[in-house]
């Protein structure tokens, strides 16, 4: 992988340029759209849960984490199919296409989270020191998304209706994750199943370190690391198996 670092960097930079050059506000859209979405969620749901502590900030953090998940998976899903030439006309290790795609989403989300810091500072008048753990959490989330990307992009070569299916999954997960509501509203008997959603686990940890200022419990860190390792293992096994007939399928 290391010997292809130039290619990975070039593809990522090209991807970033392609995403932003075509929009008039360019790069600011990637910040603006989650902020606007968080604003909408805040105004719609503040009557229900506005009394909760740090409701607005929690929505912002939730939306940013969600954005990384949803754009990361739905754009890496197309990483192989949208690069027909690089798959069928020349040899580059195919997982590089997925990696550079997820890296693009990572860079986007880094900007978004960094832009979030001053907002948190204004709304809460302090930043918790645990925010220093953010990079660690983000790296774990990145590994999780890379694994998911490998899995989805290789299946998409064979099953072209996967975009529609994944759209539905994404929509469902949006409501099944604590983005616009607090986790406390979930009834106890559903809780064990509710916590199986990786996005929920990640959002809770992001809020711990960025808003509440508490260290995530070793248990929940172990759970997200487990999710990341599992996603990467399943993703790369699937990818390696399906990769063999990519060029024939496309």
């Amino acid at each position: 992988m290391w010997q292809y670092r130039e290619l990975i960097r070039n593809l990522t930079v090209a991807d970033l340029k392609n995403r932003y050059q075509n929009t008039s506000l360019g790069f600011f859209w990637s910040l603006l759209s989650p902020l606007l979405m968080a604003g909408v969620l805040y105004f719609v749901f503040r009557h229900l849960w506005g009394h909760e502590e740090d409701f607005a900030v929690n929505i912002l953090v939730g939306v940013m984490a969600w954005q990384f998940f949803s754009t990361g998976t739905s754009s890496s899903l197309r990483a192989i199919v949208s690069n027909v030439g690089l798959v069928t006309r020349v040899y580059v290790p195919r997982h590089i296409l997925v990696l550079s795609n997820v890296l693009t989403s990572l860079i986007n989300s880094l900007f978004a989270f960094v832009a979030l810091l001053p907002i948190i500072l204004i709304l809460r008048s302090s930043l918790p020191p645990t925010v220093l753990l953010f990079p660690l959490v983000h790296v774990v989330f990145f590994v999780f998304l890379f694994g998911a990307g490998l899995f989805l992009s290789s299946l998409y070569v064979y099953f072209r209706d996967l975009t529609q299916i994944w759209d539905v999954v994404i929509r469902t997960l949006f409501f099944a994750s604590p983005i616009m509501y607090p986790v406390t509203i979930i009834p106890a008997y559903i809780m064990p199943y509710y916590m199986l959603n990786p996005v929920t686990q990640f959002i809770i940890i992001y809020r711990d370190v960025m808003v509440a200022g508490q260290l995530p419990s070793p248990y929940s860190m172990a759970v997200v690391c487990g999710f990341a390792v599992l996603a990467y293992a399943v993703g790369s096994l699937t990818f390696r198996r399906l990769e063999r007939r990519f060029a024939e399928q496309m």
Partner: protein, 245 residues
Amino acid sequence: MSAIIVDNISKKYRIPHEKKSTLFQNIVGVIKRQFSYEEFWALKDVSFEVKRGEALGIIGRNGSGKSTLLKVLARILYPDSGSVSINGKVACFLQLGVGFQPELTARENVYIYSSILGLKRREVDRMYDDIFDFAELRKFENMKLKNFSSGMSMRLAFATAFHAVPDTMLIDEVFAVGDEAFRKKCSDKMIQFKAEGKTIVFVSHSLDSVKQLCGRSMLLHEGSIVTTGDTEEVVDHYLAMLQKK
């Protein structure tokens, strides 16, 4: 010293009677039990070696497995059995300008394309001027590729490709496009590479250019090697075979 060793390669294509490209179609297929497909062996037990610095020509009729063989060598396709080992760096030219991005400038595209072909940034920095002089596109280096004519992007791709040549080149007909002058430039360049000791595998329908470039050739027919040897003899064999049909 062999640059390429190909050992007993076979490649099978599955051609389904009904192509299923979605999960829905697959589920319907399971219910209706429609999973029949034709098997088509594009390559059958192909073995050969190419020495370092040698140029091997591969000829044969349409559908004889030439391109499949080249793609297997390039690792684009996986063989169903057998193995390929190639020493040193390989670049394959099945098409020029793979990965060109219309929204980016010529300059950026040169860097992207070179890294696809396996070049380091520093190496491209060094050859950058040569590439643009060769392509005669110096004035347009900061123009977006979407504003290039097809001839211009062709020249850019060609110039980049030929400055990025590693030890082994796999070439499939790509240089047969373009006008007479362009083709002349390409064949000159290839003869120069051969003189420099690069290993070349060359697939072509143009028997003249095979004769010009390759000392040794291989004739494929329906996925098997018919004969290998001196290019003149192999070409004669091929022409005789065509005559008989």
